[in-house]
Symmetry: C2
Subunit: 220 residues, 2 copies
């Protein structure tokens, strides 16, 4: 089956055999798209058609507000999914923009079919639903984490909280983050140069050290 090796690598479809996937592909009306770096995968404002899953490559999810300010919501990696909430909440247009940061392979799935377990041959559909729920809950959790960061009252606390969360996630005081400085500023919704100053001061104070995307927290 087309692209099955990539599909199999994703958490949501990992348990599905190639045979079952055939039926599922039909049921979900699966389609594939290739994108080059910097291509727009989903454009904000476009009518909601499908749920999108990134199979290969990388992308960034951004939101543009009415003033034209762009904010980085998160980076996408293989297996990440967009559009479940949109469809479910009865939105008629996509609320964010998904842009390829490298060459990508993307899988499109029919949003109506996805969340409704059917009585058809595709007997594995219930597994997909369960995984989707898991993913939405995880996403919910991540959103809550980010919300806590943005609730901090100054840049220093935002950065430290972010780094501590990443450190905890990595299970080490030495860890890499997915963002460069410019992206991190954007992610935390702060000015880039102010972030740069703050990071320098934190290094000065001996609280942290860093190089490129690699960081080290020195004190608890």
């Amino acid at each position: 089956m087309e692209n099955f090796s990539e599909i199999q690598k994703t958490k949501i479809f990992a348990e599905i055999s190639e045979f079952d996937m055939q039926a599922l592909a039909y049921c979900l009306k699966i389609k594939f798209r290739n994108y080059n770096k910097n291509d727009t995968i989903i454009a904000q404002g476009q009518p909601v058609e499908d749920v999108v899953m990134l199979l290969k490559g990388g992308a960034k999810l951004e939101n543009i507000d009415p003033f034209g300010d762009i904010s980085l919501i998160t980076k996408f990696k293989a297996g990440d999914i967009y559009g479940v909430e949109n469809g479910f909440m009865g939105e008629t247009t996509y609320k964010d923009t998904l842009t390829a940061t490298e060459n990508c392979l993307v899988m499109l799935m029919n949003r109506h079919r996805l969340l409704t377990p059917c009585e058809n041959k595709c007997k594995r559909h219930d597994i997909i639903v369960r995984h989707l729920v898991q993913m939405v809950i995880e996403r919910n959790y991540e959103l809550t984490e980010k919300l806590k960061l943005l609730s901090k009252k100054n840049i220093k606390e935002k950065v430290l909280a972010y780094l501590q969360a990443q450190s905890k996630k990595a299970g080490s005081l030495y860890f890499d983050i997915p963002y460069n400085k410019t992206e991190l500023a954007n992610y935390l919704s702060v000015d880039r140069s102010a972030l740069s100053t703050t990071l320098s001061r934190l290094r000065e104070e001996g609280l942290i050290d860093f190089d490129k995307k690699h960081y080290h927290i020195k004190k608890g």
Copy 2:
């Protein structure tokens, strides 16, 4: 059945008959608790035991960070639920504090049973799961909305974006919000007096008007 009239009013259990609810209550090991105003319903750091649903009264959900700063996450009304994500994400302790703002009736449900449709007599369990998924997705949507607010770069934009969202939700340029000024400042993670100044200036400029919790947006 005990408290059935209250249970029936909640979206999640609305379709369930009293008879089916009996079986479900047994399956989910439902328990009830009464709380007085200012009582702690869930304490941050406590071991995760149950999923909690507010049946009657009001409550507020807050988070206390390591520095001791408290931030208001949201207000709870009847039918609102807490603890689904916690349990599902394998957290062993509650991450937030839920406090009664009025006298409350609360329903506790076993978190392990809740999300796993069973083969028992309680044949309506699948409906509950579907509603839960809906609620998690809605919550996800709300979190994303709040995230967009907190990403705005100054108080004026935060407030305007919040009021516009509330206006849209109410379907009118005249609407009530659930927060007083102090709570709103807390919700938006800004200083109360700075918020007060901003609101006054916006009124001065003729963009909005307000009285207590009632607001009016004058220009689009």
